[in-house]
Amino acid sequence: MVFAFLANPDRFMAFSRWAAPMFGVLAAGLIGVGLWLGFAAPEDYQQGDTVRMMFIHVPAAWLSMFVYICLGVASFLSLIFRHALADAAAKAAAPLGAAFTALALVTGSLWGKPMWGTWWVWDARLTSVLVLFLFYLGYIALRAAMDDETKGGRAAAILALVGVINLPIVKFSVDWWNSLHQGASVFRADGPAMTADYLIPLLLMGLGYMAAFGSLWLVRIRAEIWRRRAVILALKLADA
């Protein structure tokens, strides 16, 4: 229903014109309050002040996977229905997903050194997130490598769908293999494994990152629609 409504570029432009700034303001508010509560939280009895890295590392890791789900769905819709807006949405999501994944890797490394004694280990969670990052880069590179935009979009969409296989590996890697990385501590069958002091700012930051992605994604899709309009207009002018 929502997809059908927004599939029309004019309706999408009208919707995103107010939705993008609204999500942006929402993100700023949520992240602001989340940071405030995060720096007001007590030091962790084991991790000390490094626990404050959780408020930026974990939301980045959540977004790295969420954005890939968006990329996968958009790529699927683009391949099956050959819809230009779905293709634009996939193209617009990839750089943001790559940025969130890079953030998860770098902040995780900075957290790992004082807690694990190493910047990096080739364990299942870290390696599968690195593979996720490479899928994002591969998607961007494949699109950029082909002169024919339509062919490039379809080839990249197939690559994106292949990469969806990696998502459950990222999620369950800490359960399937021995890992230095801790297991899930928020979304668990028996409830979150942390107190409200940490859980509330973490959830606010997660929602803030999500709203920020929503806002930036809409802005980038709008940019892509304008770019395609400009390309079509330039061709028409050249023909005239």
């Binding site: 007001a40 002040d49 404050r52 770098v106 930036l216 980038r220 940019a223 400009a230």
Partner: protein, 53 residues
């Protein structure tokens, strides 16, 4: 009371926050500049296509 004293972990916590701020700054700037550039270009070409009086 806000706690900005990261003690012995200062060289891990603040760089992580600084990199996050830089990444967000890039995402915001790149998205907005891209949108502005292509909107301007599409508007310019649309105007050029309209018949001159």
């Amino acid at each position: 009371m806000l706690d900005f004293d990261m003690g012995k972990y200062v060289w891990f916590v603040w760089p992580a926050y600084a990199i996050s701020v830089a990444a967000f700054a890039w995402m915001i700037a790149d998205s907005l500049l891209r949108a502005r550039r292509w909107k301007r270009e599409a508007t310019r070409l649309e105007a050029a296509r309209k018949p001159q009086p």
